[in-house]
């Protein structure tokens, strides 16, 4: 799609991913990989976290392993402006009066 002037910065993000980015942002910008998978599964987003990093690049969102024992995988948001802009675009930045999704 061609972005219009005033649209959020590319790459384009859809509603489900914007909601995931907003979720990540409100959790300090990170989550355990298992938590992220649980969120995506329960919200029925179909998001694959490794696929996400591959598609959007580790400069925007990346997966790390922790130094702790046992080591864990951790998803970390890096591009705050990009995530902010798309979350605002879809109206998922702040609580909303519209209907809520079930699990």
């Amino acid at each position: 799609m061609a972005l219009e002037r005033g649209d959020p910065p590319p790459p384009v993000v859809g509603y489900d991913l914007a909601r995931f980015l907003a979720w990540l942002k409100k959790r300090d910008g990170y989550c355990d990989y298992e938590e992220g998978e649980c969120y995506c599964r329960c919200a029925k987003t179909g998001i694959d976290l490794f696929g996400l990093v591959k598609e959007y690049g580790p400069g925007r969102i990346a997966i790390y392993r922790t130094n702790r024992t046992p080591s864990k995988k951790l998803v970390k948001l890096h591009d705050w402006n990009w995530a902010d802009a798309w979350a605002i675009y879809y109206g998922v930045e702040i609580p909303h009066h519209r209907h809520r999704k079930g699990m």
Binding site: M1, G14, R19, K26, R27, Y89, E93, I94
Partner: protein, 168 residues
């Protein structure tokens, strides 16, 4: 990025992971639960899901949820008597404030402007809501909940691979 070849998390980041709101309210069960409901306020919550996300027991999560119901931050519904469903009260100003706090934690740490942007969007939405309310009261129609930006533009971005649902 291959699963077997992941980069190591910078030690500066490891200091703050796992503690809600940068440790401001300690590490109580209710703080973890609040973080989860603030992060995804559109969801219907069940104690089992929150227990999994917070790493706390079902019983302690249920107690925390009941406290939030008492505080009128959440509502509890019994569609199935054995499995109550909890929803956020979308009119709760404390929920809005906690959302801003979540962004403020990031801003203080990263030097970003997430809270400023969220406050700006909040104000725009409140203005649009009031305007739409007055306008629609005149016309006798109800507010649909669209964001101010989409109200102004009347169109949505083309959903990419990760956004097929088209909105909540």
């Amino acid at each position: 990025m291959e699963e077997d070849n992941l980069p190591e998390l910078p030690s500066s980041v490891e200091e703050y992971i796992g503690v809600p709101y940068g440790g401001l309210f300690g590490e109580t069960v209710i703080t973890h639960v609040v973080r989860e409901i603030v992060a995804d306020p559109e969801r219907e919550f069940r104690p089992r899901y929150l227990a999994k996300m917070t790493g706390k027991s079902n019983v302690s999560v249920r107690d925390a949820l009941d406290k939030l119901v008492d505080q009128n931050i959440m509502t509890k519904e019994y569609m199935d008597p054995q499995r109550p469903v909890y929803r956020v009260n979308p009119g709760s100003k404390r929920l809005d404030a906690l959302t801003f706090l979540a962004y403020a934690v990031i801003d203080d740490r990263e030097g970003t402007h997430c809270m400023r942007d969220a406050v700006f969007e909040y104000c725009r939405r409140e203005v649009a809501f009031r305007f739409a309310g007055e306008h629609e009261r005149e016309k006798g129609v109800s507010y649909t909940g669209a964001s101010p930006r989409s109200l102004l533009r009347g169109s949505q971005a083309n959903p990419g691979r990760y956004a097929e649902s088209g909105g909540g």
